[in-house]
Symmetry: C2
Subunit: 171 residues, 2 copies
């Protein structure tokens, strides 16, 4: 099965993201607006209890933290994605590294850049049009990160929740 | 905010359900195939911690149970819904009653009938066509129910996970 680890920003941020995703993100219907903490990975169902235990340990020692969402940005020209940027704080970096360790360790060609995708698979022209009008926006958004979720992918590409993990560390 | 409580059957059942939902269920993209345990309800965010505590208590005293999915059925003529029926065992009935108690108690005009919707808002003709060919199917499906999830609805109608609750009772 294909699994992934994500966290969902507060509802008002999700609604804001969806207003763009509806038009610019072909994955709009596959999963609500999210910040990916661990990219999709294949895991045997027999290993699931170990994956859960690992994630549970990470959540136990992580304290809830607030994340600033300062602006809209793009991964162009690497890939034609527009996203709401989240500040890459030490909290976030540590969280990602802890999740991506032990049984879930995988080397990645990309650096971890916490973000909420609002557009992808866009043509160059479309990306420049849309990003040109969004890049000047000052967002000043903020969201609390106090949990993450292990999700799995169905055959149609959509994602179902398997389990949520609440942060239990103290600040 | 609008909340709901649902449980997701095993992946192969979800994939099977989606093969029909894609064509016959306008809510296909809003939420993965599920069994509703508590219909959508409005709750003030200030009450959320009490709702979570209530659901946590229910999950703590509930033991995992298997559910037989014997056939495809319909709520017609009450409403033009086609669904995968789940046996209404004592386990299921008790679980629903416990969730729908205390702070979450609401009187409902419907009896609780555990099911996975695969088609809705169909015309009479369409329903009869589709149901006519599906009613003879013997499913012999089964799924383990060992958790449920508190979900909330976004402005576009889709549902996001808030928290999962794992059954911790002993059989």
């Amino acid at each position: 099965m294909k699994y992934g680890v994500a966290t969902f920003p507060e509802k008002k941020i999700q609604d804001f993201a969806n207003s763009f995703r509806k038009r610019y993100d072909p994955h709009y219907a596959m999963i609500p607006p999210h910040i990916t903490l661990k990219e999709a990975f294949e895991a045997d169902e027999n290993l699931l209890s170990q994956v859960v235990k690992h994630l549970d340990n990470v959540a136990r020692e992580t304290a809830p933290f607030k994340v600033h969402l300062p602006k809209i940005s793009t991964f162009h020209p690497t890939t034609n994605v527009i996203y709401i940027a989240a500040d890459k704080t030490e909290h976030f970096k540590t969280l990602h590294e802890k999740i991506n360790s032990g049984i879930l360790y995988q080397e990645s060609p990309y650096n971890f850049i916490p973000h909420i995708t609002i557009g992808q698979k866009m043509s160059d022209d479309e990306l420049h049009d849309v990003y040109g009008s969004l890049r000047m926006l000052k967002l000043e958004g903020e969201t609390l990160i106090d949990r993450f979720h292990l999700m799995y992918q169905l055959e149609n590409g959509s994602w179902t929740i398997y389990q949520s993990f609440l942060f239990q560390g103290s600040k």
